[in-house]
């Protein structure tokens, strides 16, 4: 129903808006699929060895030489090959971090939501406390102290970003646990563990899936940022973040060295965000439209 006379909401406009959302989600999904495929097949797709250096071939421009389709960097390494292998690293970290985030968040959210009482109070106070720290601060402090390996980086990102997920899952569980199918399970004598993981968890799948998709985006972003600052993926292993660190030194002369990895990060983050946004619309009307 239209709210003000000044704003008649046309039917066509509404349809367009809905279609656009789906189109964006669809595009996001396709981008994600392409990225995953290119990461998976990076060794096959990459025209060169990404670590092979040849200073005679420094700073080749993109699209000039089909041996180096996107040019070369300050050490003569092939940019396309480094982008593909870097994508592999970034997506691996993104996915492992997401799994860590979702598992931690879901576990804490379910426990707090279903057990209630003191467990709920203690866990949620812990979440509130963790949320008092700006995420980048928390992440950097921990990242700076652990020896950077792909696993440790993923774990650090995952373990500093699960709080939101636990809140989402807890809210969902609070709503679900009042339903009679849970009472039925209790009447049958089901254990708490069975109720939490067999009855409740599968019903919270939709918001968890949405959160998981969005968390890949933020984990990729975080990885690129800490790698850019030097606390993440270490050279010679390429990641989009540490490619940017090097490129910054040659900004005025060879800007594409900074443009390409940044564009790759942006594309990835957008792909997962749009997909997640579309999934939210499609799966969970109650979550719709909160920013």
């Amino acid at each position: 129903m239209s709210a003000t006379a000044a704003a008649p909401e046309s039917q066509a406009g509404r349809v367009w808006a809905r279609f656009r959302r789906h189109r964006l989600a669809l595009a996001g999904g396709m981008v994600v699929a392409l990225l995953l495929a290119s990461a998976l097949f990076a060794p096959v797709l990459a025209p060169q060895d990404p670590t092979l250096l040849d200073t005679a071939l420094r700073f080749r421009a993109p699209f000039a030489d089909w041996h180096f389709p996107l040019g070369t960097d300050e050490l003569g390494r092939d940019t396309l090959s480094r982008l593909l292998h870097g994508g592999r690293v970034s997506l691996t970290v993104g996915l492992v971090a997401m799994v860590t985030t979702v598992m931690t968040g879901a576990l804490i959210g379910i426990a707090a939501g279903y057990l209630g009482g003191i467990a709920d109070t203690v866990l949620m106070r812990f979440v509130d406390t963790m949320l008092c720290f700006p995420q980048v601060f928390l992440l950097l402090v921990v990242a700076a102290f652990v020896p950077p390996t792909l696993v440790s980086i993923s774990l650090v990102i995952g373990l500093t970003s699960w709080m939101e997920v636990s809140r989402i899952v807890r809210a969902e569980i609070l709503h679900l646990k009042e339903q009679d199918f849970v009472a039925a399970a209790r009447a049958l004598g089901a254990s708490r563990a069975r109720i939490m993981f067999r009855e409740l968890l599968p019903n919270a799948a939709a918001p968890i899936l949405v959160a998981a998709t969005l968390k890949v985006a933020s984990a990729v972003l975080m990885e690129s940022y800490i790698s850019y600052l030097g606390y993440g993926v270490q050279p010679p292993l390429a990641s989009w973040g540490n490619m940017l660190t090097n490129a910054q030194g040659y900004f005025d002369t060879v800007p594409w060295l900074a443009i390409l990895p940044g564009a790759a990060i942006t594309l990835t983050v957008m792909g997962f965000n749009f997909l997640g946004d579309g999934l939210r619309d499609a799966l969970d009307p109650r979550l719709r439209m909160d920013p």
Binding site: Q179, D180, F181, A183, A184, A185, R186, A187, L188, G189, A190, S191, R194, E199, P202, N203, A205
Partner: protein, 323 residues
């Protein structure tokens, strides 16, 4: 009379009312405020009362799905009101419940087969093959095809879902089943089918029922005895015929006058209760019914009436019955 299967005495369930922000306790909902009832083996007791009077809470508290705040629940002679979950385990097989809403009572993410196998998994009965056979047998018992096991709850109608809920309740071969308005969410045409199914199962399996309803007419076919509830308390208990022909409590009389022709040929003046149902968060003093009662006396506002046996199996909680 032999010892009853279930005997509930002085059952109370109080819910705290908490402030939204600080979660401080700012009041109490006395949803169940001293309920007495008993059920014999193989018998059907109807628990009747207006919506919100505490029937569901009573039923769930008996099964310890909601923690009772006071009173005793004797099942097979043993008071289970304060049993731990471990102590309750053997009783879980003996008492079951069929819920009011057939949509909320089946896990939407489980197949019907999974839902019906759960009781056997939880109690470690049989292996996978054996459980599949048992599920098929349960489905047959409630009149559903064995293929139903592979499908999800949303693929079934309300009546079919209620059959699944009944099958689940019967899986562990209980002695008592609490039916919490099992047909009130169904189409009238389906209601009779489900009631008849439950009656048939009772005859075959020797079940005792507590049939909860807000509608006297529905329970009049199935009940052996009827307990009438008002605002957290049972005000009158009587054998079915006695209740319909010789109701003593003013509230029961008012309920009966609102029932369209409960028994053909009976005549009585219509006495619709006046005023709204008070809230269980601030129940009236003394007899909870006194603000709406046409016979209220000064004493009624001061003193809660005790339950008195007025005839065999007929108990009334009203000062009019005072000696």
């Amino acid at each position: 009379m032999a010892e009853p299967l279930l005997e509930v005495a002085g059952l109370q369930v109080h819910f705290p009312i908490r402030s939204a922000l600080l979660r401080r306790r700012i009041g109490t909902v006395r949803a169940v405020d001293g309920v007495n009832l008993s059920v014999a083996r193989g018998e059907t007791l109807a628990l009747v009362g207006e919506s919100g009077c505490g029937k569901t809470t009573t039923g769930k508290a008996i099964l310890r799905l909601i923690e009772p705040s006071g009173g005793s629940i004797r099942f097979g002679g043993e008071d289970i009101a304060r049993h731990s979950q471990a102590q309750l385990a053997p009783f879980r097989r003996r008492m079951q419940i069929v819920f009011q809403d057939p949509y909320a009572s089946l896990n939407p993410r489980m197949t019907v087969g999974g839902i019906l196998a759960a009781p056997f998994e939880i109690h470690r009965i049989g292996d996978a093959r054996d459980r599949a056979d048992r599920v098929a047998a349960l489905l047959r018992t409630v009149g559903l095809p064995p293929e139903a096991a592979r499908r999800y709850p949303h693929e079934f109608s309300g009546g079919q879902r209620q059959r699944i809920g009944i099958a689940r309740a019967l899986a562990l071969e209980p002695e008592l089943v609490i039916g919490d308005e099992p047909v009130s969410a169904l189409d009238v045409s389906i209601q009779a089918q489900i009631i008849n199914l439950m009656k048939r199962l009772q005859a075959e399996l020797g079940l005792a029922y507590v049939m909860i309803s807000h509608n006297l007419a529905v329970v009049s076919h199935v009940a052996d005895r009827v307990a009438v509830m008002y605002l957290g308390r049972v005000v009158e208990t009587a054998p079915r015929e006695t209740l319909f022909f010789d109701a003593r409590h003013p509230y029961t009389q008012a309920l009966l006058s609102a029932v369209p022709e409960p028994v053909p040929g009976r005549r009585r003046a219509r006495q619709v209760p006046q005023g709204d149902v008070p809230s269980p968060a601030s129940p009236p003093s003394g007899c909870h019914f006194h603000p709406r009662c046409p016979h209220a006396m000064p004493r009624c506002a001061q003193e809660a009436p005790a339950s008195r046996i007025v005839a065999s199996g007929h108990a009334v909680a009203c000062h009019l019955e005072a000696p």
